[in-house]
């Protein structure tokens, strides 16, 4: 893994409006065959700029995570192209974009879940508080403990609600009943689930409704007091009421945790996030304060997407 030390500022500070939209992409990205075809199709739909447009306001925030010139391949197929993206601390950052644009791939790289797939190859770097998470000496287990992750489909474990929540502590060997119950209650309260389940902590987590299951998963993710909370389309399997509850929850957790949320629901992104990054075909297109992205996008492709002209 090459640690390219390109400064965050230099390439992207230049206003992206200047970057020629019709620049041949192959020259910049130098990708192999398959993705070139995909790019060709994209060209027909919307012209893409080679560099991401990152608003200054994002840069001025203290950031906890820095994704830098990050590219990723699934076997021969490139899924992420040179993504550079700082993630501000204590804020909610939303990743939007059409299906298959690499949002989930990117978020799964942040806690190295993509390690589980054999054919994955990466370039570039991701740093958590200045330390590379991709370096060979990084303890993946410890890294994942610093990040809570919630997945697209609720995935409670086949055990009681209580055990589900305290799972991160259990794997650390915590046995103290009092500590466990305290963490359980705190996490469930934070996840706005406590009132609904406090009388049936011994029941199986699988007996909860879908929305409750997802909040249970959030409770589990925050039980280990992570530094970053990664939400990978947490509401895509839920009905509107459950979705609203999760969104309220994200509002409550804002400030306490750094949250990265992947969503393909633009309204959701505009409702819950401070910053929004628009990704398309494996590249970061535009990244800025949510309000600006949705009201005054700088790039035409962003505008086209958020106004619903494609995607």
């Amino acid at each position: 893994m090459s640690l390219q030390t390109t400064s965050v500022d230099s390439p992207s500070l230049s206003p992206a409006k200047d970057s020629p939209a019709d620049q041949p992409h192959g020259a910049v990205l130098g990708g192999p065959g398959p993705q070139c075809e995909a790019r060709q199709e994209a060209d027909d739909a919307v012209p893409l700029s080679a560099r991401a447009e990152i608003h200054e306001k994002v840069r001025n925030e203290p950031c906890i995570l820095e994704i830098e010139s990050f590219s990723l391949w699934y076997g021969p197929k490139q899924a992420l192209f040179n993504v550079t993206m700082p993630i501000p601390e204590g804020k909610v950052t939303a990743l939007i974009g059409p299906s298959g644009c690499g949002k989930s791939t990117l978020i799964r790289c942040i806690n190295r879940m993509n390690d589980l797939i054999d054919s994955v190859r990466t370039e570039g770097d991701i740093r958590l508080r200045g330390n590379s998470i991709l370096a060979p000496d990084v303890d993946v287990i410890q890294l994942r403990k610093r990040m809570g992750m919630v997945f697209q489909k609720p995935n409670p474990f086949p055990m009681s609600i209580f055990e589900n929540v305290v799972y991160p502590l259990r794997i650390d060997g915590e046995r103290n009943r009092r500590v466990l119950s305290e963490v359980c209650e705190r996490s469930l309260r934070d996840a706005a689930l406590w009132e609904e389940v406090k009388d049936r902590l011994k029941e199986s987590g699988l007996r909860l409704s879908g929305g409750q299951q997802q909040r249970l998963c959030i409770a589990r993710a925050i039980a280990g007091q992570p530094e970053v909370l990664l939400l990978d389309e947490p509401c895509s399997a839920l009905d509107p009421i459950a979705t609203a509850k999760i969104e309220d929850l994200i509002h409550q957790l804002r400030g306490e945790y750094t949250i990265v949320i992947v969503t393909h629901n633009m309204q959701q992104a505009s409702r819950v996030s401070d910053y929004t990054a628009f990704m398309y075909l494996g590249r970061l297109v535009e990244y800025g304060p949510t309000e600006e992205i949705f009201t005054r996008p700088r790039l035409s492709e962003t505008e086209a997407y958020i106004t619903g002209r494609f995607g």
Binding site: I141, R144, K145, M149, F151, F157, I171, L206, R207, G224
Partner: protein, 584 residues
């Protein structure tokens, strides 16, 4: 089901939800007239599927009902009939079978006529007098005389020589005749029989337990001496000291043995005084010793209650007693014990191994050529004839591992082998090997069925792979693993061929588990129900008597396997219920 009219009028989507399975759109659109034939609704295949199922079920039900019926009637006390033959002979016994055969009566010259004739198979017993247990009696021999049911025909089940059918004549204690009419003899028999049998059991306990213990102590002393001989050489001072000690022990044991012998003889003398004079159907008289009679009953004077009592007593004897008469009579308790212990041992050996192997294959090994090759090899292992496993078990477990253990630990017992021959442990391990593919395949499937999202959730929490497997994957896969265990148990418990090579025997003198340290004797050979069935059916000197026992033993084996499986299924269901995803 939709009516044809309705199917005609309505479009396919609206008619679909009415039937059990929605008719295909095309057929619904065509909407045939009367009967909405199965053909047009492309449901004819249902008949094929249903037919296949019915044939399967019919075969299974047929086989099971044959076994259950034959197994259940075996112990029912049947009436005793007396048939007088045309040549003046009298035959008495239980009717076992009735056949209508094409009797070939040859009337000269060479005029062969075939005419149906009835013949009966009688269990006539009295082997020591007639040299036969069973006898065919055809209608031609009886000259049409009807069979009688003499009131005082008594069936005696004995320790040796099989059954005896006769009329009680006198009851003797020593030289005193205390009863002479059948009713009085029968009353005396009932009065004294249980007492004599109690004495007999006491004698057997003396012979088996006490004398057995003396033998064991003697053997221990001899082995200790042999050990000194091996370690220090003969005529060394240590050996001489040991030899002196051995002689004192031997002397003490011999005295003890003589005491036991004396007790046994006393009981024998006392028991032999009780005698029964009986007369056979053709008038021969003989004497039966009361101590040799297991059970007796006047077959034609029994009330329904008496019959049920005898039936129950025979079943109880069957499941609780040891076999006698070359396994054709008595019980199969040692075989039940051997089957259960062996199956449980096999399960405890195969399940951990299979699960560990499957875990490695599914969770850790990188998928590739090697893993595929292993998987194919495992599946092929399931197709290897079981006798091959027996040969392997004999060669590898008994002769290589067992012989090495003997040389290391039981050198003083050589040349007689301890572990170097077939035994419970080796049989269990051989069957574990045989059933390993079943467990591996079932476990792999169960592991594959654990959703990826659950593993990711656990890994995302910072769990290591092993923590994920132990806390999430294994509990979730446990019902599937237990299914594999059930299949393995069913397969293993019914296996015979490898057992014949690695430890199952016709008659095991001792149970594999007893009160002698170390309580579980894994090196002992054992009896097994499935082998017992084979032995009864094909190796028995008295095959006609063994036949009903084949069915009863089969019934018992099936019942035991079913019981083992049901308990495993109960455990599995409990696990499944624990975390079932409620109503959602």
């Amino acid at each position: 089901m939709t009516t044809p009219v309705l199917a005609n009028r309505s479009d396919p989507t609206s008619s679909a939800p009415v039937g059990d399975s929605p008719p295909s759109p095309r057929s619904a659109l065509r909407g045939t007239q009367s009967g909405a034939s199965l053909m047009t609704r492309s449901e004819s295949v249902v008949w094929l599927l249903g037919g296949a199922l019915v044939i399967c079920l019919a075969m299974i039900v047929g086989l099971l009902s044959l076994i259950v019926w034959q197994g259940l009637v075996t112990f029912w006390p049947r009436p005793v009939v007396l048939i007088r033959l045309a040549d003046g002979q009298a035959v008495m016994g239980e009717v076992v079978r009735e056949e209508t055969a094409e009797a070939r009566t040859e009337t000269p010259p060479h005029d062969v006529q075939a005419q149906p004739a009835r013949r009966l198979l009688l269990r006539v017993g009295n082997y020591e007098l007639t040299q036969e247990h069973y006898r065919w009696v055809s209608d031609a021999q009886t000259d049409g005389q009807p069979a009688e049911r003499p009131a005082w025909a008594v069936v005696f089940e004995r320790m040796a020589w099989g059954r005896f059918y006769g009329f009680p004549k006198a009851f003797l204690i020593g030289d005193d005749t205390i009863a002479q009419t059948p009713a009085a003899v029968w009353a005396a028999f009932q009065k004294y029989h249980s007492q004599v049998r109690r004495q007999w059991r006491q004698r057997r306990r003396l012979e088996h337990d006490e004398a057995g213990e003396v033998n064991r102590l003697m053997e221990q002393a001899r082995l200790r001496l042999k050990k000194f001989e091996l370690e220090h050489g003969k005529d060394s001072p240590q050996w001489k000291a040991a030899h002196a000690e051995f002689e004192t022990i031997q002397e003490a044991l011999e005295r003890r043995f003589a005491r036991i012998r004396h007790d046994i003889e006393t009981i024998d003398r006392w028991n032999s005084r009780y005698q029964l004079r009986v007369e056979t159907a053709d008038g021969r008289e003989t004497t039966l010793l009361l101590k040799d009679i297991v059970r007796a009953y006047p077959a034609n004077r029994l009330s329904w209650l008496d019959r049920w009592k005898i039936y129950g007593a025979r079943w109880w004897e069957f499941v609780s007693a040891e076999p006698r008469e070359a396994n054709t009579e008595g019980g199969v308790f040692p075989a039940i014990w051997g089957t259960v212990v062996m199956t449980l041992l096999m399960t405890t050996a195969v399940v951990p191994f299979g699960v560990l192997a499957a875990l490695y294959l599914r969770e850790y090994a990188k998928p590739g050529l090697a893993v595929s090759a292993v998987r194919i090899a495992v599946n092929n292992l399931a197709g290897v004839p079981s006798i091959v496993f027996g040969v392997f078990g004999l060669g590898f477990f008994c002769y290589i591992i067992g012989a090495s253990i003997d040389e290391l630990l039981f050198a003083e017992k050589l040349p007689s082998p301890t572990f170097g021959t077939g035994g419970l442990l080796w049989a269990s391990l051989t069957l574990a090997l045989l059933t390993l593919p079943v467990v591996i395949v079932a476990t792999e499937e169960a592991l594959a069925a654990v959703p990826r999202s659950m593993r990711e959730g656990s890994l995302g929490c910072g769990a290591t792979q092993w923590q994920t497997i132990r806390r999430i994957v294994l509990p979730k896969a446990m019902p599937g693993i237990l299914t594999g265990m059930i299949l393995a148990m069913a397969r293993g418990a019914g296996e015979v061929a490898p057992l014949m090579l690695v430890g199952a025997v016709k008659l095991a003198p001792e149970l594999p588990v007893d009160r002698v340290f170390p309580y579980v004797h894994l090196q002992r050979s054992f009896m097994h129900l499935a082998f017992h069935i084979y032995d009864l059916g094909f190796q028995s000197p008295n095959s006609e008597a063994a036949k009903p026992m084949v069915f009863t033993t089969t019934l018992l084996l099936i019942a035991i396997i079913a019981a083992l499986n049901l308990s495993a299924i109960a455990i599995r269901n409990r696990l499944q219920r624990k975390y079932e995803p409620g109503h959602f």
